[in-house]
Amino acid sequence: MTESTIAAPRRGVPLWAQIIVWVLLVGLLVIVAMGLNRAQQGTVQPGHKIDNFTLPLFSGYELDGKSEINFEDLRGKVVVINFWASWCKPCEQEAAELQEAWEQYEPSGQVVFLGVDYVDTEPEARVYLKKFGITYANGPDLATRISQYFRIKGVPETYFVDKEGVLQYVQVGPFTSIDQIRAQIDPLLK
């Protein structure tokens, strides 16, 4: 770094040094810009086609006997993806509503509820699931890959994906009533 002082005592900056300086500077700015862009982006926006992901399921919370979900296999069904954690107090407010909604839609076979357990430990997660009598498919967000994909800002957050795999609505924070959940699902069933 001290180089330049010495390299050209009587001339301007050598071209190679200029190039290095500008490349480094622009490179840094680009990285910061990308980081800023990522920080400014909210969650994945409605209208976005959700890419495939896999979600391993807790035993006892499988979906149709499968212990791992491939998101693409759910095409043709409305998918409700709920991010939660056992240490999350607001999650508890909506847990009963979500389960109730699931019980209403389960017989139709057209809707799938997925609970994605964010940064949680399995024993505590099980206690939580049992406490609220949750029966729909639930699994851990391994290495926070799914939450990173959805760019969640916190828990709880719920994502409603239509039959074509396109995101239609994002709920940030807990639901206060079952009608709120139904209001998002019903239009997608038509």
Binding site: E3, T121, E124, A143, T144
Partner: protein
């Protein structure tokens, strides 16, 4: 083994051999069960120190007060009780929560190489600078040093600088 065989061969010492074998198995089972009960807080913290929970970023797990972190520490305790090693536990956390659970980036090469290269670059430039700086002075020696003359003769550094101070 050999000792036990020897002991077994001499009939008089047979009870002793049995006693030793018994004591041996007893300590073994005791050691095994010693792993079972709750590990101490210090053992948990020793591992927790090296982990970071994504819920409270940049706070080490051993001192993080949030509920999520308390759960993580309980998990470490459970796993220690199951007899898992430190490495296995850390590996488990990486699988569950991603590489950011570790205090140190897993890709050692990338994380240390870049600053190392930059520093090396700086060293090379400085070396080259010294080289270029020193060269002309060998040909021109003292003539090229108009400023330095007052300070150039300097066996008595302290005295000289003292004089300089007095000049003020």
């Amino acid at each position: 083994m050999i000792k036990i065989l020897k002991a077994a061969s001499t009939s008089t010492k047979l009870p002793l051999a049995i006693l030793i074998a018994l004591a041996f198995t007893l300590t073994l089972t005791l050691m095994a069960s010693a792993q079972g009960p709750t590990p101490t807080d210090d053992e948990v913290n020793r591992i927790a120190k090296q982990l970071y929970c994504p819920v409270c970023e940049s706070t080490p797990l051993d001192v993080c007060p949030t509920e999520a972190c308390r759960q993580w520490r309980d998990l470490i305790r459970t796993q220690l009780a199951e007899g898992k090693t430190e490495e296995e536990i850390k590996q488990y956390f990486v699988e569950q929560y991603g590489a950011r659970a570790l205090a140190d980036p897993p890709n050692r090469l990338a994380s240390y190489l870049v600053p190392a290269i930059a520093i090396l670059f700086g060293v090379l430039l400085l070396a080259r600078g010294f080289q270029m700086w020193m060269k002309p002075s060998t040909t021109e020696t003292n003539a090229s040093d108009p400023r330095g003359e007052a300070k150039s003769v300097d066996p008595y550094v302290a005295k000289l600088e003292e004089e300089l101070k007095k000049q003020k």
